[in-house]
């Protein structure tokens, strides 16, 4: 009688099964390697984590402005372009962080030319960037050179930047503003809702960390709308590792991987548990509320009249209002930081902000003059500014005595 083996070890597999098993393992490993190599679309990395790979994106308009200091260069560079009429300004753009990021330049304002030494070889004879010169007779104090692509060193590798460079002469000093038009973005899906998530870098600080960045967070359908970190409409928020978005608390990590020496960031959202409390918002037209200074950075997008947020104490909020194309914003001032908003699990907190807005004027006497101060105030007396493209038309006033207009005019900024 044949003895039956009762072992836990597998029996030797037939040849076909073995081949199939090896093939499966190889395929699985290849798949994993492929996943690690290519950008990862929004998806889960574990049961409660979402990873968003970010892609380099260029915009039509500036998304952030960098004030880049200029160090004057007295002596000529090793190789310079042919001399042009008018003043020649030599200098070096000094970026904070890596010294290797410094970019020597030669500016010929009359000719509207800017030569950059992007290779840092003291050779400025390459093709210049050109700016229109409107008036060739008078002195030129400022010029903008558009579509300048730069490569900047960070601890994670070389980072691309697209900027319009505004150069201006202030007395004997040259100054510059880099109107940066590039950022990183990807699609984030949380509970079925799509968001545009991204990073807008401030000037590189050499650490390679994206903590020195603004986090771009807005509904995916708004992804083509222009934005700027300084426009007040809160499309970007300060980067925070503790984020409360869409009713949930998240631990946010910025991961950096390199492709061909270029860092490619990704955002990982890992869900956290946090005790919540009720926050009532009394005003109307609230598009976005940002609560900072608490346990989480709270981003409320089109919040309802009553929302749940992590319990804790917060600074006064930054608010963006929007209704039928009209938008306004309120940025909390440092003087308001003493007035904290406390949200507890037991008692609802009330945030008396939002619309409708009121054109308000305060009147006081200044000698023989009547001093009028304009403010656009919200439901809680907070001060708003209208979000407009370009220079807005100033508010107007009228003074009446016995219902007869005796004076009118426009408010001046200041």
């Amino acid at each position: 009688m044949a003895k039956r083996e009762t072992s836990f070890l597998p029996r030797p597999w037939p040849g076909n099964a073995w081949t199939a098993w090896v093939t499966l393992v190889v395929l699985l490993l290849s798949g994993l390697l492929l996943l690690a190599a290519v950008p990862v679309p929004s998806g889960s990395t574990s049961s409660n984590a979402v990873l968003v790979s970010l892609e380099y994106q260029e915009a039509e308009r500036a998304v952030v402005n960098w004030g880049v200091p200029v160090s004057a260069q007295i002596t000529p560079f090793k190789k310079e372009p042919a001399a042009a009429s008018g003043k020649i300004i030599r200098g070096i753009f000094i970026f904070s962080g890596a010294a290797s990021n410094s970019i020597p330049f030669l500016w010929q304002p009359k000719a509207g030319r800017l030569y950059l030494d992007t290779n840092r070889t003291q050779d400025l004879t390459g093709d210049p960037f050109k700016a229109p010169v409107a008036d060739t007779t008078g002195p030129v104090y400022e010029q903008t050179f558009t579509n300048v692509h730069l490569l900047l060193n960070t601890a994670s590798g070389i980072s691309r930047v697209l900027a319009d460079i505004l150069l201006y002469e202030y007395g004997s000093q040259s100054m510059s503003t880099f109107e940066v038009r590039s950022f990183w973005q990807g699609k984030l899906t949380l509970q079925g809702r799509d968001w545009q998530a991204g990073l807008v870098q401030y000037m590189p600080n050499g650490s390679g960390s994206f903590d020195n960045s603004r986090l771009l967070l807005r509904p995916w359908e708004r992804r083509n709308q222009p934005f700027n970190t300084a426009d007040g409409l809160q499309a970007t928020v300060p980067f925070s590792r503790k984020l409360f978005l869409d009713g949930r608390a998240w631990q946010l990590e910025c991961l950096t991987r390199s492709h061909d020496a270029e860092p490619s960031p990704a955002l990982q959202f890992t869900e956290q548990s946090a005790p919540l409390g009720e926050l009532k918002i009394t005003g109307q037209f609230v598009q976005r509320v940002i609560l900072a200074g608490g346990p989480f950075l709270v981003v409320l997008d089109q919040p309802a009249a009553s929302v749940q947020v992590p319990a804790g104490s917060y600074n006064q909020p930054d608010i963006a209002l929007e209704q039928n194309g009209a938008a306004a914003y309120c940025v909390s001032s440092p003087s308001q930081t003493g007035r904290r908003i406390s949200v507890s699990a037991n008692t609802p907190a009330v945030l008396n902000v939002g619309g409708p807005l009121t054109n308000s004027v305060t009147v006081s006497r200044e000698g023989r003059d009547l001093d009028l101060d304009y403010m656009l105030v919200g439901a809680g007396g907070e001060s708003y500014k209208m979000a407009t493209n370009g220079l807005p038309k100033p508010p107007a006033f009228a003074v009446y005595k016995d219902d007869k207009k005796i004076g009118s005019g426009e408010f001046e900024y200041g």
Binding site: Y170, G171, S172, Q173, F285, L321, Q323, N324, G325, A326, A328, G355, P356, L357, T358, N359, S360, V361, T362, V363, R365, E366, G367, R368, D369, L370, L372, Y374, L376, M386, K393, P395, A396, F397, A398, V399, Y400, K401, I406, G407, F411, E412, G414
Partner: protein
């Protein structure tokens, strides 16, 4: 505000904020009390009182209203053209003008034997009447702007008095109107620069000295000197045009009196021809 307006006023702010709210804000009521005319007229009443002094009881003395009127007219005309940030200068210019008018009318009393004493008297008179004119234009509610104007006025008064004093020293030999104008302009520029330099240096040190834009220093200071000279100029022109005020200015500057004109040599007298003797006979 119109000088005649008085009583409760309603102010309305308007701005198109779309669907975020109403275009017109609520009416804000303010009870406006018109400023007392007496206080507004006080500096000009003081000038009238000075015209009543014995040395000024001449028709020529009333010409002092020409530079004063000229300053006020230019001030009013320039106000809408200049940025609102320079509004505060108007009060200082009017006050300095009133002070200069008083000095021109008081020069007989201000002239002393010693140049330095004359300078002190000019400074006191200029400061006193300028402050009187300035205060009469203000209300009791003093704003930070009022202090800015007061400081600008104080510096202008000091600069003008010092410039007049030095100018007298330079031009003591002979009164030459054009030379006087040029020297006063130069002296005002130098004195303004000397006064402003320490403040600029302190600011530069406070900023770490890493950024020095000299145009930030020279442009505003030289502009202030130019405005100061422009206030003085109508009075200088009056002194050039009017012999009465020319003597006043020369007295203030301690200019040596010009020697009286030498009379032309007399021709030898020829006795009238005697009547013909024949006719006599």
């Amino acid at each position: 505000m119109p000088l005649t307006a008085d009583g409760p006023l309603a102010v309305v702010a308007s701005y198109d904020i779309g669907a975020l709210g109403s275009k017109d804000g609520p009416r804000v009521l303010y009870d406006w009390v018109k400023p007392g005319m007496a206080s507004l007229l006080l500096p000009w009443l003081a000038i009238l009182a000075l015209l009543a002094l014995t040395p000024n009881r001449r028709a020529a003395a009333w010409l002092i209203w020409l530079p004063l009127g000229c300053l006020i007219a230019i001030n009013k005309a320039a106000q809408p053209l200049l940025p609102s940030e320079t509004d505060f200068l108007a009060d200082a210019i009017t006050a300095l003008g009133a002070g200069l008018g008083a000095v021109w009318l008081l020069s007989n009393y201000l002239r002393r034997q010693y140049r330095f004493i004359t300078f002190l008297c000019v400074l006191l008179a200029l400061a006193g009447f300028s402050v009187l004119a300035f205060v009469s234009q203000q209300t009791l509610s003093l704003s930070p702007e009022t202090f800015e104007v007061a400081i600008a006025l104080a510096v202008s008064v000091m600069t003008t008095a010092v410039a007049l004093g030095f100018c007298g020293l330079i031009c003591r030999g002979r009164y030459r109107p054009f030379g006087l104008y040029v020297w006063l302009l130069l002296l005002l520029a130098v004195i303004w620069l000397v006064i402003a330099a320490p403040f600029f240096l302190i600011q530069m040190i406070a900023q770490g000295g890493d950024f020095v834009d000299w145009s930030d220093f020279f442009l505003p200071v030289l502009a202030a000197a130019a405005v100061n000279f422009a206030v003085l100029l109508p009075f200088l022109i009056l002194s050039s045009a009017s012999p009465f005020f020319r003597e006043r200015l020369k007295a203030l500057l301690h200019v040596k009196p010009e020697p009286p004109p030498v009379p032309p040599p007399l021709a030898p007298s020829v006795p009238p021809p005697l009547p013909d003797a024949a006719l006599k006979a």
